[in-house]
């Protein structure tokens, strides 16, 4: 039923620069489902960093550039819950009462987060070829609250037969990234990510997946830093959920 569907992929700037494998994995998963995927080269960032820093004009300028990069009516699948939240829920606020409002609303209505698209639109079935493994899921706070993608993320992991989904302590608590928060308040952010990684290590998982690469920058950055510490000899990986799905459904060694 979806064989001829075409969609746009919005990679996000963090995926583009730091986790391109996540983007490629997502692309391949979607194409395998018979979806025609366009990736406009003109896309860059959703504008969230400027928006949450209070620089509305700069955020608007960047938002308009994204809107221009995705013409037509095709759905826009976004690889990060937090960026999807920005584009779906905050763009309308940003342009409220302005001449662009109507076209922005139309654009925002096309936004769908990646895991939600796989589960709710494609109802994707996954053949898990990987070995048994325990995995924890982290959703960004905005993804969880604005986009409701906690359950679609969990659902995808449940559809991978050999994955044991582990719930970590204080799962719903923020990892401390918060975009520029981690820069403006590094000590508080550090305390938060240390608690988050400790909870992840304690839950019995050997890796954490997320559909939010901002959080992943923070969490995997901390996990890697801890690698040398005496208590943390065992590596603990973090990756985008698209990458995990692609690896496991192709049976590639992990």
């Amino acid at each position: 039923m979806h064989s001829n569907s075409s969609i746009y992929l919005f990679g996000t700037c963090v995926v583009d620069l730091f986790f391109p494998q996540a983007g490629i994995s997502a692309l391949k998963i979607l194409e395998r489902e018979g979806i025609q995927v366009s990736y406009p080269q003109a896309q860059s960032c959703c504008g969230q960093p400027a928006y949450t820093s209070g620089y509305l004009d700069d955020a608007r300028r960047v938002a308009l550039a994204q809107i221009a990069a995705f013409p037509g009516e095709a759905p826009i699948v976004v690889l990060s819950g937090s960026c999807a939240g920005m584009m779906k829920h905050h763009y309308p606020t940003l342009f409220s009462g302005m001449p662009e409002e109507t076209s922005v609303l139309q654009f925002s209505a096309r936004i769908i987060e990646f895991t939600a698209y796989l589960v709710e639109v494609l109802n994707i079935q996954l053949q898990d070829l990987g070995p048994a493994e325990s995995v924890a899921l982290h959703t960004s706070c905005t993804a969880r609250r604005e986009m409701g993608t906690l359950h679609t993320g969990r659902e995808l992991l449940r559809r991978l037969k050999h994955i044991d989904l582990k719930i970590h302590d204080h799962e719903s608590e923020c990892c401390g990234f918060g975009g520029t928060f981690s820069v403006r308040h590094p000590d508080i952010s550090a305390a938060m990510v240390q608690d988050k990684t400790a909870a992840l290590r304690q839950c019995g998982a050997s890796k954490v997946v997320s559909a939010d690469c901002g959080c992943l920058l923070n969490i995997t950055g901390a996990l890697q830093k801890q690698q040398g510490e005496p208590d943390h000899k065992v590596p603990f990986a973090g990756l985008h959920i698209a990458e995990l799905i692609w690896q496991r459904t192709r049976g590639e060694p992990l």
């Binding site: 620069l17 490629i24 209070g54 620089y55 401390g176 508080i188 608690d195």
Partner: protein, 486 residues
């Protein structure tokens, strides 16, 4: 009992030492553990009170609606309240600033020739630094709420609006009591500690010349003050002494008595996870001629202190819906890490970050709007649906916006407090890069796109490794993928 002249120590620090205070707080491992378990306890207790999502949703809808309805008519309600309260025999005072409020209260006490004031818990009296003011006028203000009593003995300030001494362990309290209360031996037994505290407090009630309390809600229709508490000291401080002075922010008005029950339900459950508190006091005037007890005079001080500034803007007005339950603090991951003192303001945590800028100006509180990851936990639990993250965002805009520019709105004192030309230019450069595909692609390797996200490698790499830029971007990988396919 010893008294402390050092009370104002925190005043001398500037409020925008938030960074150094939060650094010290996060470095204190013991304190962090204590806060974590205290907050987890409160989160659990609250959750148990709202097991049914539909019921919770309906209840907070009505809470929000009651508060918004009252605020929409605030000027009317204040006038109505004043009239009713006067008819009930109370004296109504208006104070625009903390200084005025202090002078009014001092004036009343002088008239009574009062030397001692016994206080039930009142965050507004903290807000105006009443104890300190009275001390400089040789009047002793004694806290009678157990938590307030403890922080007063320790010469500190409350660290939470509901549980002022939540930062203290029983060992610390044991040491404090042994040192500060006459004839007291060191004991870590909590029941005994409570008894020791109560005994000390009882002696004070009987001898106090006047009593002071806060107000949870003021009911315009009937001119009634509502006060909720668990320990009974609120009731004692409002009925034993000859004079009762109540102080409240002007926003605490409700239209009528029927508005009270839903809000009380939301307040106590959100705050401590209790379905109801031990005492709900409804005070509607001084002792009548046929009554056995109660004060002979009741005064109420209505304090503005920046609230009308918040009121003037429809979006920011939502801040005034607050019923001071503290749930937003309990659920805030930032508050949990740093505790209330790090904020340096009377009201800490998420509500503090949105109300303090009105009370103190954005200049003084410039770090607070950014002291949030915008995770949304506070907005989720707020029983009157204050969109706290949205208001934080709004204040961030005010913080970097100057008069005459597009997003500037004439509401706040100290707008543009965090305005820096260099930062503004940096964001302009950032937006330019993210608007022009060619620039975005070209700047990839220099990470211009993220330089402003991660300007200081040092702060990032204390606990994390620096992220590595992938050798090929997604833009490039997909291009190659598509070329291969076609």
């Amino acid at each position: 009992m010893a008294t402390h002249p050092r009370r104002a120590a925190m005043k001398t620090e500037t409020l925008h030492d938030f960074t150094s205070r939060s650094r010290a707080a996060t470095a204190d491992g013991e304190q962090r553990k204590k806060f974590r378990s205290a907050m987890d306890f409160l989160i659990g207790k609250r959750a148990a009170q709202f097991p049914d999502t539909a019921q919770w949703t309906a209840l907070r809808e009505s809470g929000q609606q009651i508060r918004q309805r009252a605020l929409a008519r605030l000027p009317d309600l204040l006038a109505q309240f004043e009239k009713k309260a006067q008819q009930n025999g109370m004296t109504v005072h208006w104070a625009e600033t903390p200084q005025e409020a202090n002078q009014i209260i001092h004036g009343i006490l002088q008239q009574q020739q009062a030397r001692t004031l016994i206080k039930g818990k009142s965050m507004v009296s903290e807000e105006i630094e009443l104890n300190h003011y009275l001390q400089t006028h040789s009047i002793k203000a004694l806290e009678s709420d157990m938590g307030e009593f403890i922080v007063q003995l320790a010469d500190e300030k409350p660290s939470h609006i509901i549980m002022p001494a939540i930062h203290k362990s029983k060992q610390e309290i044991a040491t404090l009591f042994a040192a500060e209360i006459d004839d007291t031996a060191y004991t870590e037994d909590v029941d005994e500690l409570i008894q020791i505290g109560r005994q000390a407090l009882r002696r004070q009630f009987l001898n106090a010349d006047a009593g002071l309390s806060g107000v949870n809600f003021a009911i315009a229709e009937t001119g009634t003050l509502c006060l909720v508490e668990n320990e009974g000291n609120g009731r004692l401080s409002t009925s034993v002494p000859r004079v009762h002075i109540a102080i409240t922010g002007i926003e605490k008005m409700l239209e009528n008595l029927a508005d009270l029950p839903p809000l009380l339900t939301l307040l106590t459950r959100s705050a401590t996870g209790q379905p109801i508190t031990t005492y709900v006091n409804l005070i509607s005037g001084p002792r009548r001629t046929d009554e056995q007890d109660g004060p002979e005079e009741v005064h109420i001080v209505l304090l503005d202190n920046g609230r009308s500034q918040a009121y003037a803007d429809v979006q920011l007005r939502q801040t005034l819906q607050c019923i001071r339950c503290g749930a937003c603090m309990n659920h805030c991951p930032v508050y949990t890490r740093i505790g209330g003192h790090a904020y340096g303001t009377t009201y800490p945590g998420p509500i503090g970050s949105i109300i303090s800028p009105h009370l103190l100006g954005l200049e003084e509180t410039r770090d607070l709007p950014s002291a949030s990851t915008l995770c949304g936990a506070c907005g989720d639990v707020c029983p009157v649906k204050i969109p706290i993250p949205e208001l934080l965002l709004r204040l961030r805009v005010e913080n970097v916006t100057r008069a005459g520019t597009k997003d500037h709105q004439e509401v706040m004192r100290g707008q543009g407090a965090k305005y820096r030309l260099s930062e503004k230019l940096a964001w302009q450069a950032w937006s330019l890069v993210n608007v022009k595909p060619a620039l975005y692609l070209a700047s990839r390797r220099s990470v211009t796109g993220l330089r402003h996200l991660i300007p200081s490698a040092k702060s990032w790499t204390q606990v994390r490794v620096m992220p590595k830029i992938a050798p090929q971007s997604l833009h490039e990988l997909i291009k190659a993928h598509q070329e291969k396919k076609s």
